[in-house]
Amino acid sequence: MSGEAQLPLASLRASARGAPPVHWLPRALRHRSLAAGLVLCIAILALVIAAPLLASADPNAQDPMQSFAAPSAAHPMGADAFGRDIFARVLYGGRTTILACAGVVLLGGFVGTIIGLVAGYAAGATGFVLMRLVDLLLAFPGILLALVVCTILGPGLVNGVFAIAVVLVPIYARLVEGATREVRHMPYVDAALTLGASVPRIIAQHVLPNVAPGIIVLTTTWLGIAALWIAALGFLGLGVQPPAPEWGAILNDGANYITVAWWITVFPGLFLSLFVIGVNLVGDGLRDELDPTLSAR
């Protein structure tokens, strides 16, 4: 997976200077997978945001009379062991999963980018030590590293977000460090330095624009994976704690009753899958748009 992360810099630079920004939306919509992914993601986001309008206000409200009620007009997705409405739990749970995975890429991406910029720009001993630490973290399979952090911090949604963000830090750091090191000695950076530009200015004006397309592609790729992992932690009991709904946690509720009530398991997984498919479609489209060497193949 990290193999894809290192996009050729030449193409990134070309695309950064490519089509004028005014046209990006129509151009993006002409790309079929990008458009389909956006539609899917927006549809799911709209459903999840409109949860209070579409479903009962309280996803945790129990109704013993409705225990294991099959899907019906009153409960479009049925009810679970406690008679809680699955439709409401799926919509409210989606808020948690989506917010959490957005938190993961924002946190991990931000910290990783900073470390990559520092290591790439400072080079020398600082860069060396930072990048060996990055190598060490990359030597762990991603989920295993997240589980290690979960062990230290204990179960819980916020801890889960931290745990998965830790996995992303070295991945972003490696991408950004490579690109930064390459740009660092470009003649125009030397020229800017000679003219007295400050380091933050050089990073903002010259380094970041070069790295941005790579960061965007990496972020969409990892948004989908983060959603799957947040749900996996919820499913294992290491993420969201009951009774709060979350797609993975609802799946966990349903797993024990799969022989009597398939609906508890099927619907949250379906929403999670559709969301990740949408994110991945957007990611593929962005990759094509931002990296001409890949789409030319």
Partner: protein, 307 residues
């Protein structure tokens, strides 16, 4: 032994050292007294707390603790599991083989299915079959493995009585878990193998071979596939680690014995010595796999050894 091999061996040792330090730190980084966290409700018993302190050597200086722990690990002593009331080694003995079987079955499935889809898509580039194959691959990558596992149980064990709901360690019990574990990787492989084949087709000697009139099949087998396999090998090495840690979820879904499920239960039970042993073993196996891939490289591409 070539300089390349020596460098790889040195890197493996450095990595093993780094992994061991990180795994050692797991217990020491836990906020508060790990003995009290581990004991939970029994934390009031000072003799138990003292016993854990003594076993972990928590009262000694850090480097001494590390040396003691590493010495034990190298001698095959991973400590005592508080939640299972037995040595971690005997737990490993029970759980290791089923996980390896599942991992390799998943890898085989992902390479075969991914390979077929990827090669077909590459040969039918930009036609309907290509688009359909890549749509399927995208779905494979996006569907959560634990949901897929539950759906497989629902369809093939509940609705159709073809398999048992709780898979045993028999060969038949391996089918559904391996499918659930490997499908995501299969989707990833399909995409990767497709682009790998497409890239190999543009290599100069492949173009030459075609120009001098070799048949399509011969060019594909001798020239395209051989060049396309190298990047796939790297990915397979990385994937073995992902699949190995993916067993954490799949073994839980199928209630299979194995180190993945053992890891989750140990984390939930705050059984830190067991967690340490499992993380160390999985991470080291992962490092070892990638080391093996590195050594295989020059065999397949002599140019790498020459560098």
């Amino acid at each position: 032994m070539s300089a390349y091999t020596l460098r790889r061996i040195a890197a493996l040792f450095a990595l093993a050292f780094g992994i061991s330090v990180l795994v050692f730190l797991i217990i020491r980084l836990i906020p508060g007294d790990p003995a009290i966290v581990m004991l939970g409700g029994n934390a009031g018993d000072p003799s138990l707390v003292a016993r854990i302190h003594a076993q972990l050597g928590l009262d000694l200086p850090m480097p001494v603790q590390y040396a003691r722990w590493l010495g034990g690990v190298l001698a095959g002593n991973f400590g005592y599991s508080f939640s299972y009331q037995q040595t971690v080694v005997s737990l490993l003995r029970l759980n290791f083989v089923p996980t390896l079987q599942l991992t390799f079955a998943g890898l085989a499935f992902s390479l075969i299915v991914g390979g077929i889809i990827g090669i077909v898509a590459a040969l039918q580039r930009n036609r309907g079959i290509d688009t359909a194959s890549m749509a399927i691959a995208l779905a494979f990558v996006s569907v959560p493995s634990f949901w897929l596992g539950l759906l497989l149980i629902l369809v093939f064990a509940v609705e159709l009585p073809w398999f048992d709901v709780v898979g045993g360690t028999s060969l038949k019990g391996l089918v559904l878990p391996a499918l659930a574990l490997g499908l995501g990787s299969a989707g990833f492989n399909a995409r990767f193998i497709r682009s790998s084949v497409l890239q190999a087709q543009t290599l100069q000697h492949v173009v030459t071979a075609r120009a001098k009139g070799l048949t399509g099949a011969r060019v594909f087998l001798r020239h395209v596939l051989r060049n396309a396999i190298l990047p796939v090998l790297t990915i397979a090495g990385l994937q073995l680690g992902q699949l190995l840690s993916g067993t954490v979820v799949i073994e839980t879904v199928f209630s299979r014995p194995g180190i993945g499920r053992l890891l989750v239960q140990s984390i939930l039970a705050k059984d830190y010595p067991t967690v340490q042993a499992l993380v160390l073993i999985i991470a080291f196996l992962y490092a070892l796999t990638n080391f093996a891939v590195d050594l295989l490289y020059p065999v397949l591409d002599p140019r790498i050894a020459a560098r």
